[in-house]
């Protein structure tokens, strides 16, 4: 019942991930970070099978960083998504596929545009204005449909994100220990 939500604003992407690490009926950790920074302006947030998630995220992170060092360039968010999707698609038809659902949030410094991609474990991908995975999607997408608009400011975006988290607190049956919020914009990735 992990929560991951992402939404784009005029020149940034806001990503919220729940801080509880749950195993069975126990909460093992209440400051868990379900994200990896794969490039200076791109963040990957993940949920899914424990073990697969971190393994896969760190695998793509290492390969993207290697590419960055070899070519002395930063991959754009669409290019990173294309790479992550192809790795998941390869894995899907292997003996034991990675069961990882992913949001890729990035800021393209060349075109000066924010990007949010939704990728599931089947390697279906879509570029979206706002997205969520798992049960959180059922509660938050209706709110986002109602309030999200193109080119909103960062403050407006944060307000909408707060509405989503409040809704999840009231509706989800177990405590997800709040969310950690990361913002990706022209200055890179920062936690708030």
């Amino acid at each position: 019942m992990d929560v991951i939500i992402g939404l784009t604003t005029k020149d940034a992407v806001i990503v919220a991930t729940s801080m509880a690490a749950v195993r069975g009926v126990s909460i093992l950790k209440s400051d868990d970070d379900k994200t990896r920074v794969v490039a200076p302006h791109t963040l990957v947030a993940y949920t899914g099978e424990p073990g697969d998630t971190v393994q896969f995220a760190e695998y793509v992170q290492a390969n993207i960083q290697l590419h960055g060092m070899r070519n002395e360039t930063e991959l754009s968010p669409p290019a990173i998504t294309s790479f992550v999707r192809s790795e998941l698609a390869k894995s899907l038809r292997s003996r034991k596929p990675y069961q990882v659902n992913i949001l890729i949030a990035g800021y393209d410094t060349a075109t000066e545009k924010p990007y949010l991609y939704w990728v599931d474990y089947l390697a279906s991908s879509a570029q979206l204005p706002y997205a969520a995975h798992g049960y959180a999607a059922y509660y938050t997408l209706s709110l986002l449909d109602r309030w999200h608009k193109k080119d909103i400011s960062l403050d407006e975006g944060m307000k909408i994100m707060e509405m989503c988290v409040t809704e999840l607190r009231t509706r989800l049956p177990i405590d997800f220990k709040g969310v950690q919020i990361k913002i990706i914009d022209r200055d890179g990735v920062r936690t708030v």
């Binding site: 939704w118 997205a131 999607a137």
Partner: protein, 205 residues
């Protein structure tokens, strides 16, 4: 429920008219009943051929990339554009290559042969069996509804404008009776020297 070809939803249809062809698709991407995106077109252009891909979204994306790669290589090797008939055989053999671990798709090809000017449409099953048709072909989760609509609206030798009306009404009324298709539509009307792409306004439920 977990049938791969109806997880994400989506439909395509292609029709033949008088010296023209049309191909249309919906715009939905879903996960079961939840709609994830309403901007997921399923028609891709490869030179003179148009390919509509329905089924499992991951395979729709993968195959569109595979065919882009193969058609680019064809262009370099042959130094000419690929014709719809040739492209249909490329689709067929590429799908049959994965006979015992198939891509879960229902492709449709439409186009006009640039040499002969003859309209061409065909459909496939997931392992590449070609279904050549002189009238119309359908694919996707609302294929049954599309068969009904096409069967009652289509007539031979429609002019481009009338063909547009026929294919649009068939697609729109079929997808309105399917929970897994809809949320927008795109229709291409292809004549020998012109391609018109139209975005249709549709119900948003």
């Amino acid at each position: 429920m977990s049938d791969p070809s109806s997880i994400n939803g989506g439909s395509v249809v292609a029709m033949v008219g008088k010296d023209c062809v049309a191909i249309g698709c919906d715009m939905r991407l879903g996960m079961q009943a939840l709609t994830v995106s309403n901007d997921f077109p399923k028609i891709f252009q490869f030179n003179n051929a148009f390919l509509g891909l329905t089924g499992l979204a991951t395979d729709v994306i993968t195959l569109s990339e595979v065919f882009r790669y193969k058609v680019n290589l064809y262009n370099l090797r042959e130094e000419r554009k690929i014709e719809p008939e040739t492209f249909a055989n490329l689709v067929s053999s590429s799908l049959y290559e994965k006979r015992f671990g198939p891509y879960f798709v229902g492709p449709v090809v439409a186009g006009i042969n640039s040499k002969s000017g003859k309209p061409y449409i065909c459909g496939f099953d997931l392992i590449g069996c070609i279904n050549f048709a002189k009238d119309f072909v359908v694919g996707g989760t609302s294929s049954e509804q599309l068969f009904g609509m096409c069967e009652s609206l289509w007539e031979p030798d429609l002019e481009p404008d009338d063909l547009f009306e026929t294919i649009s009404q068939s697609l729109l009324n079929a997808q309105d009776r399917d929970a897994l298709s809809g949320w927008g539509a795109i229709v291409y009307i292809i004549t020998k020297d012109k391609v018109v792409k139209r975005l249709l306004k549709t119900r948003q439920d």
